[in-house]
């Protein structure tokens, strides 16, 4: 394993130092990343977080029109309650705080514990669970939260910026999650700094379907295929769960080790697929946004927009990872 790190133990700390040095708009304190501008009175605060290794998610989405604070855990390990409590208290501008939580046992438990201990702040919480590769049944921990997290953070962030009350921000955040679905495909495993070797072995002839963002193996392996075929597999999985109609927000997301050129190749296929179903890509995002360390592969996330959500998506955002209109 070769990684640009000092030690496996210090990688999260070191990366946060780099973020702080690179972005004067951020303030990093005790493993929480805040807007340097601080909380705004009367604005609902947005706090998210999760394991590190998914950059720019979440810390890269702290800023105007998106998050107020992000709590990065160790690599692939959800943050501890202390971080979340600190963040929640710090960003409360009196209008309460929304926790945006990806649906993993660890994230859920730690955010729950934190919320319980923040009884001085009005806290609401939205669970993101968009990954159709996971059956949502009694026999699983429920769907994983992946790409839709970005959509929820962006749209809820825009609404909060406009001064909407906590209940409304929470409702729209949950609505975005309900309207969103994802599916991911890996060409290679990631390698965590601590383990020092690939989480799974995948031969050069196979791909792993239905992967998450933590190097968890997927549901099954199939022979490597063309971008067109792989895009179709992902899109059929999404379409089978949430029929593609109307105006869609579509993200073709790289897992961290996939170059942009290839993501554009995939996007062309995804867009053609969607057109073939009679729906329309109305807004889109192509790039490495919700990553899994150095994994090669992609995920597609689709959200069924309406006028209001489109307006909120288009609203100005100014973060290291996502920026427009400002």
């Amino acid at each position: 394993m070769k990684k640009l790190i000092n030690t496996a133990q210090s990688v999260v700390e070191d990366a946060l130092s780099g973020m702080a040095a690179a972005h004067p708009s951020l303030r990093v304190r005790e493993r929480v990343v805040y807007r340097a501008s601080g909380p705004r009175a009367g604005k609902v605060g947005l706090v998210s977080g999760g394991g590190s290794g998914h950059e720019p998610l979440h810390a890269g989405f702290v800023g105007y029109g998106m998050l107020d604070a992000a709590c990065p855990g160790e690599v692939f390990t959800s943050p501890v309650p202390d971080q979340i409590i600190e963040a929640t208290r710090a960003v409360d501008g009196g209008a309460g705080v929304l926790h945006i939580v990806k649906n993993y046992t660890g994230d859920v438990l730690n955010f729950e514990l934190a919320a319980e201990l923040c009884d001085d702040v009005q806290v609401a919480s939205v669970l993101v669970d968009d990954d159709v590769a996971v059956e949502d049944s009694l026999y699983t921990a429920g769907r994983r939260g992946t790409g839709a997290t970005l959509f929820v953070e962006k749209i809820a962030g825009a609404l909060a910026e406009q001064g909407a009350p906590l209940a409304e921000v929470a409702r729209v955040a949950a609505d975005v999650d309900e309207r969103s679905r994802s599916f991911g495909i890996a060409l290679t495993s990631c390698t965590t700094p601590a383990a020092g070797k690939p989480t799974f072995e995948l031969p050069d002839t196979q791909v792993e379907l239905g992967i998450g963002i933590h190097g968890e193996p997927g549901r099954r392996r199939v022979p490597m295929a063309s971008a067109r075929e792989l895009a179709a597999v992902a899109m059929e999985a999404v379409h089978g769960d949430l029929p593609l109609t109307g105006d869609l927000l579509v993200m073709v997301n790289g897992m961290g080790g996939t170059p942009l050129m290839e993501l554009y190749v995939v996007f062309a296929e995804v867009e053609a697929f969607i057109r073939g179903k009679g729906a329309r890509v109305s807004r889109s995002l192509v790039g490495n946004y919700v990553t899994s360390l150095d994994m090669q592969g992609f995920s597609v996330t689709v959200c069924r927009l309406d006028g209001e959500l489109t307006r909120l998506w288009d609203a100005p955002v100014d973060t290291p990872g996502l920026r427009w209109g400002r």
Binding site: A8, N110, V134, R144
Partner: protein, 213 residues
Amino acid sequence: MDTGFFVTWLRDAATRIRLQRDRLTELDAAIGDADHGANLDRGFTEVCKALEDWPPTAPAQALLTAGTTLIRRVGGASGPLYGSAFRAMGKALQDPVTLPGFAAAFEAGVVAVERLGKAAPGDKTMIDALAPASRALTAAVEKGLTPYEAFHRAAVAAEEGSRATIPMRARKGRASYLGERSVGHEDPGAASSALILGALAGVAVKEATKEVD
């Protein structure tokens, strides 16, 4: 079983976890996200530090310190789960500690994990090691066994329970995402639970030997 016993238990658990760190990570790589070894190593290292910084004056305090530290330092699923287990155990533990008292407190810890994680035996989680261990303790109490014998049986039950997760299909935690592919692998949390109970039996041996001296 005095405060020193509990401190030694936690320290020995930390050592065993440190030594088995890579195995735990590999188990987690197979059906999870390859961080269980790092998580628990970090957590129990912090527990040892906390026990030095705030030396406990009672057994319950040692467990509460351990539980709080795990919750505050680990993250992930295992942090809150193990943390709550130790905290619940600490809250339930009566001074002076007797074997029946220990068994009851341990069961309170297991119940806390079940409640927080909403998992049941057979779901392929740490519960599948912890619950059999708890049953073994209760049975040992009923049979009037010595602490050493009781802890030894609990450790064996946890070991067996952990191995019994291999053919199970996961229904909770990250491994549940794999569906059928989770079959054939030992659950990392069950394996770490077995280590922690192994440490318990080990400390009891030391104690027993000490008494002989």
